[in-house]
């Protein structure tokens, strides 16, 4: 099969499509396998990020055949004869398939995503907190979001999902400030296309998290609170 990879040496260089032949050896081979093995034999290794190889860390997010995905979660057996690999487009490119996703961390700072006091920690909220804590911060959701722009106030679900943990676990008295930030940076920017739901590599229940966060922060219905 052929890997068609959009390459550039650094952020200033012009991007250029390069073709590489790769023969999968196993049904288990993924795009991550192909990149690892290609880099063992080519002179000018392809720069990409990869850490856990089992879709738990989000490092290897890239655009594969037009869809943001994790390289370690894309089996070659499911791909056509040519696979197109590009860096995520909503972040500044560093080199080849590496982008600088630092803006997601900045957005979580803007959302003041931390507890000042103790989390409530109850059986009623633990399910929500667990689901929200699974976010990989990979950035795939931002890639397909029609409303997210790097310099806008809307954080996308890369901010919205982690915020659901805070809104679920904050004692009611401390919810006001978090609710305001959520409304400003998540609720008001989200057009509810829910395109994010279809690409999230962790398969997060984004609808469920949004419903609960909106109930708490917008409609002031503190489900399970009191």
């Amino acid at each position: 099969m052929t890997l068609k990879i959009l390459r550039r040496k650094n952020k200033a260089a012009q991007p250029e499509w390069k073709l590489y032949e790769f023969q999968p050896e196993s049904e288990k081979d993924t795009v991550a396998t192909a990149l690892t093995k290609l880099n063992e034999i080519i002179d000018d290794p392809i720069r990409w990020e990869c850490s856990c190889l089992q879709k738990k860390c989000g490092a290897c997010a890239m655009v594969i055949d037009g869809v943001p995905r994790l390289a370690c979660d894309t089996f070659l057996r499911d791909c056509g004869p040519t696979v197109r690999l590009e860096p995520l487009k909503k972040f500044p490119v560093v080199a080849d398939l590496i982008v600088d996703r630092g803006v997601m961390r900045e957005n979580l700072q803007t959302l003041r995503l931390w507890f000042e006091g103790e989390a409530r920690g109850s059986e009623k909220t633990d399910g929500l907190a667990y689901e929200a804590s699974r976010c990989l911060q990979c950035g795939c959701c931002l890639e397909v979001c029609p409303n997210y722009m790097a310099d806008g106030p809307f954080t996308g679900m890369a901010g919205g999902v982690p915020m659901a943990r805070l809104l679920a676990e904050l004692p009611q008295a401390q919810c006001e400030e978090a609710a305001r930030l959520y409304r400003e940076h998540v609720f008001e920017g989200c057009g509810k296309s829910l395109a994010c739901r279809n690409v999230c590599p962790a398969g997060l229940d984004i609808d469920g998290l949004l419903v609960n966060s909106n109930a708490a922060a917008v409609w002031k219905r503190y489900f399970g609170r009191g």
Binding site: T30, T36, S51, C52, K56, D100, A119, D126, R165, L166
Partner: protein, 525 residues
């Protein structure tokens, strides 16, 4: 200002504990915390919370940890770890970690090598849940100016002279710049997976390069021969994937086909703890039954007896992983498993305060040799990383210097010296594997050492890595006994004369080995 290399559980814990004391830190890592190996930890974290009505106490956690580690751990350090564990888990709960709860109390599950239910968990992604909570807590101190993040920066040099560390050199891999920080430096950079590429359950970024650099610069290694093979791993592309010990904690059973029928060998051989014997014992038993003539050479993990409730609420992520990567449903099909390299009990030699043999250089988490002796118990790794990080924060004296200083662009020559070619890495792996398997003997280890002599290192990073490999082999050769993860077929007995720490140092281009006495337990603990 303290400079912390690595932003997984140990690094985060150190940075948060320092910030709580009003001390600033630079938190330096190759990748953001979300990509750290800590997020892979699954089964849980041990603490004698005694929530299950079994009369558990930290002294029992202490005894199990010491026994599981075959009495090779520092008893004072283990007493500190286990006595602080309940407080650590309660603190994590207050940070919003969604531990499994029932009627307001934290539920605890069985784990290997422990007679009481002592492992608190968040389904089967406990590491991810803990990391999310600590990342958010660290963010509070980032906003307050106590923690300064550098999240695409690799350690490339340590300034060590006459046994003292004065600072470190870092490579900003996005800007291709070289930066410098001062001392103290805390290494919290994970295990030595890079010595066994493709064969461990760990993360790709945990190459062991930072520990190898410290070793080459004079920091001693301790117990480098102690490598944990986790009994239940499966092969996926590019690595081994862990099947959490929680699977057995919740009732999963190991069997092998003997004379045409399933034989639940662990239950027969070890009636008390059965499938939940310590990992070294299980892995060895698996190897032994697979070698028997009346048995097939494949062990299966049977989880088909687990309840629907367990799959829905306790192990959903484990099932999803097996479905995705093996196309096997553990609810209905036994999973073929085999032992795989999972954890390095050995690492940089540290004292109880987590200081290395180099003044001003500290180590915590898996890169340090502390707490686990000859075999780590499941559920103790995250605990040790978090506790070790907090101990470092108590002891790493605040040094000079604020922001990192930029020295200039990285040169092609510098980059070349940092490279480890895949061909070299794979060859080194194959050599080491020959001497450092589950069952070892002198001739295998000596063959590996001879092969090392013929392995040319072309760069500094390759030389550093090879020297750590040599330390592992020499440690395995010198420890003429069987203890924990180190099993010698030519010395099958435990020998009290070897109840000592192997200490390896790198001097004038050669690895030297010595055995050091293990501290006596202090009376007040």
């Amino acid at each position: 200002m303290v400079n912390i290399i690595g932003a997984g559980l140990a690094g985060l814990s150190a940075a948060i504990a320092l910030a709580e004391r009003g001390i600033e830190s630079n938190l330096i890592s190759q990748q953001p915390s979300e990509r750290a190996q800590s997020v892979l930890a699954e089964g849980g974290i041990n603490a004698a919370l005694d929530t299950m009505g079994e009369g558990d106490a930290w002294q029992e956690h202490y005894a199990d940890t010491m026994r599981g580690g075959c009495d090779l751990a520092d008893p004072n350090a283990v007493a500190g770890l286990t006595s602080h564990a309940p407080e650590i888990v309660r603190r994590l709960a207050s940070l919003g970690v969604p531990f499994q709860r029932e009627g307001g109390r934290i539920v605890q599950r069985n784990f290997g090598g422990q007679k009481k239910k002592r492992t608190a968990y968040a389904q089967s992604s406990t590491g991810k849940a803990l990391m999310t909570a600590l990342i958010d807590e660290a963010r509070k101190y980032e906003a307050a100016g106590f923690i300064h993040r550098y999240a695409h920066h690799e350690l490339i040099g340590l300034e060590i002279e006459n046994g003292t560390c004065y600072g470190a050199k870092l490579w900003d891999t996005y800007a291709d710049a070289v930066l410098r920080c001062g001392a103290p430096v805390v290494l919290a950079c994970g295990g030595l997976n890079g010595l066994f590429p493709g064969l461990t359950t760990g993360a790709v970024y945990n190459t062991g390069g930072a520990a190898a650099l410290a070793f080459a610069k004079g920091a001693a290694l301790a117990n480098p021969e102690m490598i944990q093979y986790h009994p239940t791993t499966v092969r996926i592309s590019g690595k081994r994937m862990l099947v959490s010990e929680a699977a057995r904690g919740e009732g999963g059973r190991l069997y092998v086909i003997r004379s045409g029928k399933p034989w639940y060998f662990m239950e027969e051989l070890y009636p008390e703890l059965g499938n939940l014997m310590p990992r070294d014992v299980v892995s060895r038993a698996m190897t032994q039954v697979c070698a028997r003539e009346d048995c097939e050479a494949q062990v299966y993990l049977d989880m088909t007896c687990l309840s629907a409730e367990t799959w829905a609420n306790k192990l959903p992520d484990l099932r999803a992983e097996l479905l995705r990567y093996l196309a096997l449903d553990p609810k209905t099909q036994p999973i073929p498993v085999s032992p795989g390299i999972h954890f390095f009990m050995g690492g940089l030699s540290v004292d109880e305060r987590h200081g290395t043999s180099v003044s001003g250089l500290y180590a915590a988490g898996e890169c340090a040799c502390q707490y686990h002796g000859a075999n780590r118990l499941g559920g103790n790794s995250m605990l040790a990383a978090i506790y070790g990080g907090s101990v470092v924060a108590e002891n790493a004296a605040a040094g000079q210097g604020g922001e990192l200083e930029t020295l200039g662009a990285i040169t092609a020559e510098e980059k070349a010296e940092l490279a480890v070619s895949p061909a070299f890495a794979n060859r080194l792996r194959d050599i080491l594997l020959g001497g450092l398997g589950i069952v070892r003997d002198a001739s295998g280890i000596e063959r590996a050492l001879q092969a090392m002599d013929k392995l040319p290192s072309k760069t500094t990073a390759e030389r550093n890595r090879a020297s750590v490999g040599r330390a592992m082999l020499l440690g395995a050769l010198a420890r003429k006994e069987s203890r924990g993860a180190h099993w010698r077929s030519d010395f099958p007995q435990r020998d009290e004369a070897f109840r000592k720490t192997t200490v390896a140092t790198y001097t004038n281009g050669a690895v030297e080995l010595a055995f050091q006495a293990i501290p006596e337990r202090r009376a007040e603990l």
